[in-house]
Symmetry: C2
Subunit: 679 residues, 2 copies
């Protein structure tokens, strides 16, 4: 087992080495003229100012939670692994953001010097660094734990590592989501609407904050979300390994069952590396094709190797079915997301059409699209669960839950590639912003716009994937929760479970209300500040004085960190309170309720937001009167509502459901011990 | 037992006699001048045109479903009771709508002749007829069944009666909801926004359809919804009576346990009668006070008698606790709804304030309010379930679910009063419309506006109550489902249950998407027609030619009946499909998922809609620039989005969750027999 864990460790290290290699290559690429470097310097500064402030708070949270774990559960090892998991998450975010803020300006420069192909290469490789950092550091941490500790300790304490990942993802996704939308909405409402200056205009004081937000929210936030899923899915499989080994009737032992997900994750990293190096755009061709090809090749590699290893290590092809089911669900949800959010299909066109009768019909039809878009992803998830569970059950009764965990591992195995494709979007977006602010020739902006537009689709797909992976990971962790508590059933005929279910279903709504209001408040502050700067100095709008970018960056930073306190506390306290007061069964009901309602709400919000965004772009493309028409104005309202939907509240729900589940798993022994004060 | 059932029957008949007496009194009241009678004649005609068309489709549905029950379940009795339940629901709707369309013009006339007090009296008594028809006919039907059949047959077949109520409620709530909002949105968008004529202006071709809609949606639709809950809660208690008797250890027998809810319902009718006759407005005083007083007195009577009867009939005070818990939850949800939707509190003011920065912020803050408004109702429901269950469990283990059913019975016992207060609103609203169209003096409109504004609050409260009662009723029926299927557990650790849970949680979103899109489509048709009429004849806007009201009524009628086919089929087919394909446990998961997600979504939509409505009115009251200001325009967008939220999609979810549960209870024997094709 230790040997196999060392192999996984090597794959992880290889992924990290390649990441460093790519990062160095990016750093060495030319960064353009002085103006470009100045602007990208502002963005970098802003990003690091945010990180610095965030780290101070993270440090406090890490210490407090480590103490809570150490004393509450009397387990120093769990507490240490918690800190380890948290630090690696922070490191992945730092690494990814560092490179993304180098890649943006170099992408813009490549677009101006060598054209689309070079620009795509730099933007994608910047994303690839984030992807490899996420999967490499995740697998690195877990392999080190498995190598260093005995199996019993690993199973008992590794959930601490997952809790570390989850608690930091809260900062990345929720804090980052509030940051990016406060800046975006603030910049748009005053700059575009009130002052009438274009997007990414350097006269807009919030423009740097907006570009920083792309990195904070879309690169680091997305990365921390998938890091959490990645780590959580593997941890879940490890904790269910004993159950699986028991059910196998001696065909394989617990150690093999525990190491198998790590090996599959290693296969995933190697496959992602192959995929990443095969992404090459051709001058004049659609960049989306190159990106898709990479994804398909990476997935194909995982599928083939999973079939071989499933039989070789666990004695049956059944587990390959579970892994393939997970991968297939991920790809399917991505495709469905595209259908509902891309203007190549009917839903977005319908919203654009409805914009002609005003913003009310834009909103209604967008919400309708968002709600309808939940149907097929849920059916895919249901089929995936069904296939993974029952395929594994054929091997031995009781094996099914391990199969579901493997499905999650399968879905997330190509995280390196998925994050690369996803993070490429905000890098291109930033490149476009820099091109605009540095007043590069129009052709440059055309290239970055092309890259950005593909990036918008990949971002929407990435959001769907993130939700799907959160659902499967949370479900797998839910199975771990049952295993750890030793509950043989969590029955809906027990009213305490129903009470838990209701409370659980309510939490994503409450959480979304918090995060949406947070964006509203923070955006208002930003609006006030931009207005104040315009009023204080006429030279800003005239283009003769530089606005005070740093102050806007500061507002977003402060607001993000302040506003995430309440939802963050809620996500940690809710499972603790229900577990302690109503007992472990009620908590099981709560997790299931939050999972089901949360996935639905997240899908609805993310897809409605994506659809509104592209309906606006569709109109801007010259339909229904084009830019400036009444239909366009209505569509802008839809897009503005969609902003917090798709970039703050929707994705934040992923964190909520995973974080609450991992808190429950970690503290399960405590709940069992107390047994529910009212139970 | 038969004797007690006869007593219940007498109470039901008494309620109906009073209803007839009140109806006669209303009919004899003066109906105003020729113009008023002409207008109210149009509204009556339109309402009956809708009913007539609806009855044809209902007849087909009744025959098809009766055959499905008769052959599918091999039970002629169940099929007959189904028809009986359906016909009584239709009768209640007919009776209530008949009187409401008489009461509207007489309310307007009373306002012009004798002032506020008399107007309130007529409007309220019109509502009371609907309330007494709903509770009287519900209890009448159930008492007749209990008197006529032996207990075994009753328990086995009475669910058919509930299915009858549910399937007709689908027409009332979903069809009615689409009707009323198609007319309302259509009338507003072309009339108010495009042509710039005021609300309820007789030049607007859709104005009659709009007023018909108040009766179709808000009187008949609400009535059918609560009729379904009323009947469903009692049926659930009856089906759980055997379990309860067994758990009582011989203290009471099944017959007593089965008759107790009927007796409590009878007490509720008598209490409602007392409450109804105590509602008297004082000239110059707030009508809301009179209405609240009636509700509190009716509830107080039920509480006192429940304490006595619980001990006398079932040997313990515990069941009174269950009943009181249900009543308290109903009142609490009403109050919470008021807090989130009335402009006397912060949430509505906040939305109004946010309207200053445009419609996007109006929408975002309204959705935030809607989401946040779910928290306390869910906590109240959770506490209610907890109290009802554990109080009953103290009497004997296994008694808890019967206690939950009694909580639902308790909550709905004062339905007569609740519906009266609720249906009073649309009657006043109609009265205002008639006053406007008949060009009565300004003071008359002031009185009806005052009544209408109170009616808006009571309508919002009624919506909250309807959702709460749907939740408790569906939960009680869920317990019946478990009892009928004989499932001892529906465990969330069984993946088929999780699959069911996911699918169930998805259904309310899908259903809402259908109903929202339906309103959009139907409203568009209405808009086209109104525009066409304005174009075809300039005399309409000049006020010299009468518009073609009937055509607009026809469009709403046709659209409503056509658009409800898909969501209606979905509500019946989903439980059948899941029950047959995935088996009874998966179906249990589905029902729980739909219940939890559905209640949340319904609360969010109803309260967001109510809050937007009142935020608009708050601005119209002179805040943030008042009518015509930019803030007002933004608030109108919120109100337009809120219309289908609060009057179509939100309330329709009540029907979805109850209908799916009752379908599952009725066809449970079939699912158990098949055992799930994939199970």
């Amino acid at each position: 087992m230790k040997l196999l864990a060392l192999i996984a460790l090597c794959a992880a290290v290889l992924g990290l080495v390649v990441a460093v290699f790519l990062a160095t290559w990016i750093r060495k690429s030319p960064a353009g003229n002085d103006r470009m470097r100045e602007i990208s310097g502002f963005i970098r500064e802003g990003a690091f100012a945010f990180l610095k402030r965030e780290y101070k708070i993270m440090a406090i949270v890490i210490v407090v939670l480590a103490l809570l774990i150490g004393f509450g559960l009397q387990s120093v090892t769990t507490a240490i692994l918690y800190v380890f998991g948290a630090l690696l998450s922070v490191l992945a975010g730092f690494f990814g953001m560092n490179v993304a803020t180098l890649g943006n300006v170099r992408t813009a420069n490549a677009a101006s010097q060598s054209g689309m192909n070079s620009a795509l290469k730099i933007a994608f490789r910047s994303g690839a660094v984030m992807g490899l950092a996420v999967s490499g550091l995740g697998l690195f941490g877990l392999s080190v734990i498995v190598v260093a500790l005995d199996l019993g300790t690993v199973v008992q304490c590794v959930t601490g590592f997952g809790f570390g990942a989850s608690s930091m993802a809260l900062f990345g996704r929720v804090g980052g989501g509030i940051y990016t939308k406060a800046a975006d909405v603030g910049a748009d409402l005053v700059g575009k609407v009130e002052a009438g200056i274009p997007e990414d205009d350097p006269r807009n004081p919030a423009v740097i904050a907006d570009n920083v937000g792309d990195n904070v929210g879309d690169v680091a936030g997305m990365g921390s979300d998938l890091y959490e899923s990645y780590v959580g899915s593997i941890i879940s499989a490890i904790t269910l390994a004993a159950v699986a080994a028991g059910a196998s009737g001696g065909v394989f032992d617990e150690a093999t069952a525990a190491i198998f997900p790590l090996i599959m994750a290693a296969v995933g990293i190697l496959s992602s590396l192959i995929g990443i190096f095969l992404v090459r755009g051709k001058e004049g061709s659609d960049p989306a094709k190159a990106l898709n090809l990479g994804t398909y090749i990476a997935s194909g590699c995982v599928i083939i190797v999973s079939i071989i290893l499933s039989k070789a290590m666990l004695g049956s092809y059944a587990f390959a079915i579970a892994i393939i089911a997970g991968l297939a669900v991920g790809v399917a949800i991505g495709k469905i997301t595209e259908i509902y959010t891309s203007d190549a299909y009917g839903s977005v066109k319908k919203i654009a059409e409805q914009s002609q009768t005003g913003s009310a019909t834009t909103i209604i039809s967008g919400l309708g699209v968002g709600m309808m878009s939940t149907v097929w992803p849920i059916i895919c998830i249901a089929i995936g669960i069904f296939a993974a569970y029952y395929a594994s059950e054929t091997v031995g009764e009781g094996m099914g839950m391990y199969g579901i965990a493997l499905a999650a591992v399968g879905m997330l195995s190509t995280t390196g590639m998925t994050v690369a494709v996803d993070a490429y979007g905000p890098v291109s977006d930033n490149a476009g912003g820099i091109a605009e602010m540095a007043e590069l020739p129009h052709e440059v902006r055309e290239i970055t716009d092309k890259l950005d537009s593909v990036g918008n689709t990949t971002a929407a797909i990435g959001k769907g994937f993130a939700i799907g992976s959160a659902a499967l990971t949370a479900l797998a962790l839910f199975a771990s929760y049952a295993a750890v508590t030793g509950l043989s059933a969590i029955s809906l005929l027990n009213p305490i479970v129903i009470i838990g279910l209701f409370i659980g279903a309510m939490l994503p709504f409450m959480f979304s209300a918090f995060t949406m209001n947070s964006v509203g408040r923070a955006a208002n502050q930003m609006i006030e500040e931009v207005r104040r700067q315009f009023r204080a100095d006429d030279g800003i709008l005239a283009g003769t004085t530089k606005p005070d970018y740093a102050h806007c960056v500061d507002i977003s930073t402060q607001a993000a960190l302040k506003e995430m306190v309440v939802p963050g506390l809620m996500a940690v306290i809710a499972p603790l309170a229900v577990g302690i007061i109503l007992g472990p069964e009620a908590l099981g009901g709560m997790l299931a309720g939050a999972l089901a309602a949360g996935v639905l709400l997240a899908l609805m919000m993310a897809n409605a937001g994506g659809a509104w965004d592209n309906a606006k772009k569709f109109i801007e493309g010259g339909h229904y009167g084009g830019k400036g028409s009444d239909a366009h104005k209505a569509a802008v309202v839809g897009d503005t509502v969609g902003d917090p939907f798709k970039d703050t509240s929707g994705p934040s729900i992923n964190i909520l459901i995973k974080l609450m589940t991992i808190v429950s798993v970690v503290f399960a022994p405590l709940f069992v011990h107390i047994g529910g004060l009212l139970g």
